[in-house]
């Protein structure tokens, strides 16, 4: 329904998940905390590199729609990485590792990781 107040009925018998509202199971990955932080996410990111790039591209397209000059993304790529060293360990090393394995610019991976703080406005 599109218009509040709520008048729909409570769903029953939806489990196990199937049908139109179920888009798939979620794969499992192991993150070995004994590894150096830089290497922890290598396997996961290697497998999801393309999907991560797609997300970042959509965010860049949105940013460029707001600021057509491309200066917002330039700021993210050039200046945001300066913030990395101020982040606590092991997060900064992990973010660096993800950027290197995925090929996504460091500032853009960092933006994804601090999205919550940026967008709670």
């Amino acid at each position: 329904q599109y218009v509040p107040p709520y008048t729909d009925y409570c769903r029953t018998g939806m489990y196990p998940p199937s049908g139109a509202t179920f888009k798939g199971n979620v794969s499992w990955y192991t993150i070995n905390l004994d590894l150096p932080p830089y290497k922890r996410w290598n396997q996961l990111i290697s497998e999801r590199k393309a999907e991560l790039n797609n997300l970042i591209q959509v965010i860049k397209d949105l940013a460029n729609a707001f600021v057509p000059s491309g200066k917002l993304i330039q700021l993210v790529d050039k200046d945001l990485p300066l913030l990395l060293d101020s982040l606590p360990s092991p997060f900064k090393e992990e973010i660096k590792g993800i950027a290197d394995v995925s090929g996504v610019p460091l500032g853009e991976v960092l933006l994804f990781n601090i999205f919550y703080e940026v967008f709670t406005v």
């Binding site: 979620v26 499992w28 982040l87 606590p88």
Partner: protein
Amino acid sequence: CTSLVAEDSTGKLYHARNLDFGLFLGWDIKNKSWAVTEQLRPLVANVDFQKNNKTVFKATSFAGYVGMLTGIKPGMFTLTMNERFSLDGGYIGLLEWILGRRDGVWMSFLTRSVLENATSYDDAKNQLSKTKMLAPAYFILGGNKSGQGCIITRSRLSSVDIWEIDLKKGRWYVLETNYDRWKDPLFLDDRRTPAMKCMNETTQAKISLETIYDVLSTKPVLNKLTTYTTLMDVSEGKLEAYIRDCPDPCMPW
């Protein structure tokens, strides 16, 4: 987002959530979907964090995102986080961080750190309610003993409110969307009323991961922003997650 912790008639605790994200981030008119939400779904991953080949905690996350929004420390506690909108928002904390005032903690780093290091439900509750943060948030925390379930409403500096399961008062579940519990939700975005209606219809006697999935599948609790549903059973150490979709007719949020 919608998160809930519920206790069944035997004292067993369940914790579940819908993660909704991407509001106003690119509406695709043709496909009637949010651009960022669509791209987040393929990034959903379950992650088992291990030390010495033993599980420390498990979580549902996004590839490329090192913080945690949904997780379980088996046998000990479960944790989810919902976004809290406030004028004193994360952008102020971010600005302070850039200007060199760095005594706060980034939200998703705090949740991961709690999942990794907290030694009990009470320890987790203490850390989540007292640590200074860069942004406001709601933390939904479940434990492994009767009565251990709460919603911590956080400002950047401190806890504003802690709302707990209280069986003596008939409160066998706590449920949070994205609004302070003592205020009415925005009338255009009331997921709390339908979710509570469905929980009350289900009743404590019949609550289970299966019936909670039903609640989280009811529109508009399930909506166009929902990327995944995670169900957690702390005593069994079980976490299961499903990628969601909300075909029309469906609310955009």
